[in-house]
């Protein structure tokens, strides 16, 4: 078991400080949007958590490619960690979007392209864990998970571009919105500062969490090895 690296402690502190600063910018620096009121402040962390979700799914796909090329367990552990973290953050993004939608669209949920594709992404990656739990052989499990993560990632860019290519009521804050979108707004400079700082803060938080999750995965793998050795010794 490896001791906690000093750099990881530094990253823990940095990510905590950045998240707190982002919250400070959102609540005390960015102005209240005049048409939506306070609920617009949900947008900053809604986008940031969705970004972390998509980033993690991409990392899992890349880890899957490396696993298939090298057969090294560390890539399976990294892929598993990335999917787990992203599943949590993407779920938060979906719930935050739903809470924002209630006063703005007058509904918690609607089956429009962005929301539908986001729900499909979440279900695809939830199924990743069902697939893993159904396979006992570690090599087979890692190989299938890698392939699944690579193909599963196809759903992520589809979700990202859905609001830019399809007719949807989901607003596009950066870039040109579809005419049917509802709830869009123009960001002024303090809003942009809070927005981009939130993205940076959650990116650092993701790296920090992924590092912790990889360490946990390695420790669990070491425990499994010791368990097998102990069992063989007894029998």
């Amino acid at each position: 078991m490896v001791e906690k690296p000093r750099l990881l402690t530094v990253l823990d502190i940095l990510s905590a400080l950045m998240i707190l600063t982002a919250a400070g910018l959102v609540f005390f620096y960015a102005p209240v949007e005049q048409l939506m009121g306070q609920v617009q402040k949900v947008f900053y962390f809604h986008v940031a958590t969705a970004w972390v979700g998509m980033l993690g799914f991409m990392v899992a796909g890349v880890a899957g490619i490396f696993y298939l090329r090298t057969d090294k367990e560390k890539w399976d552990i990294a892929g598993l960690g990335a999917v787990e973290i992203s599943l949590v953050f993407f779920l938060v993004a979906i719930i935050l979007g739903s809470i924002w939608a209630r006063p703005i669209w007058n509904t918690w949920w609607t089956w429009e392209p962005r929301l539908t594709s986001a729900a499909i992404v979440e279900l695809i990656y939830a199924a990743y864990f069902l697939l893993r739990s159904g396979l006992d052989d570690p090599d087979k499990r890692a190989r299938f998970s890698a392939i699944y993560a690579i193909f599963g990632f196809i759903s992520v860019p589809i979700t990202f571009v859905s609001i830019r290519l399809l007719r949807t009521i989901h607003p596009v804050v950066i870039g040109n919105a579809e005419a049917a979108s509802q709830g869009g707004f123009n960001m002024d400079d303090p809003m942009k500062t809070a927005f981009f700082f939130s993205l940076a803060a959650f990116s650092v938080f993701f790296v920090d969490l992924l590092w912790h999750r990889i360490r946990l995965g390695k420790l669990q793998s070491d425990v499994n090895t010791l368990r097998v050795q102990s069992y063989e010794k007894e029998s």
């Binding site: 005049q34 306070q38 609920v39 949900v42 962390f45």
Partner: protein, 50 residues
């Protein structure tokens, strides 16, 4: 001035959003800490018995 009078009151939705964010991520962080502690204890017990 007039537009300020008509800013909708969506404060409760904002609070609900940030409560969800904090609770879900906190639960995940706690789950990592619990799994780490459990794996570490098991690892140390195997090492002691060697």
């Amino acid at each position: 001035m007039l537009s300020k009078l008509f800013v909708p009151d969506t404060f409760n939705y904002m609070i609900a959003g940030y409560i969800v964010l904090t609770v879900v991520i906190s639960i995940y962080l706690i789950s990592i800490a619990i799994r780490w502690r459990k794996a570490r204890q098991e690892f140390l017990s195997y090492k002691e018995s060697e």
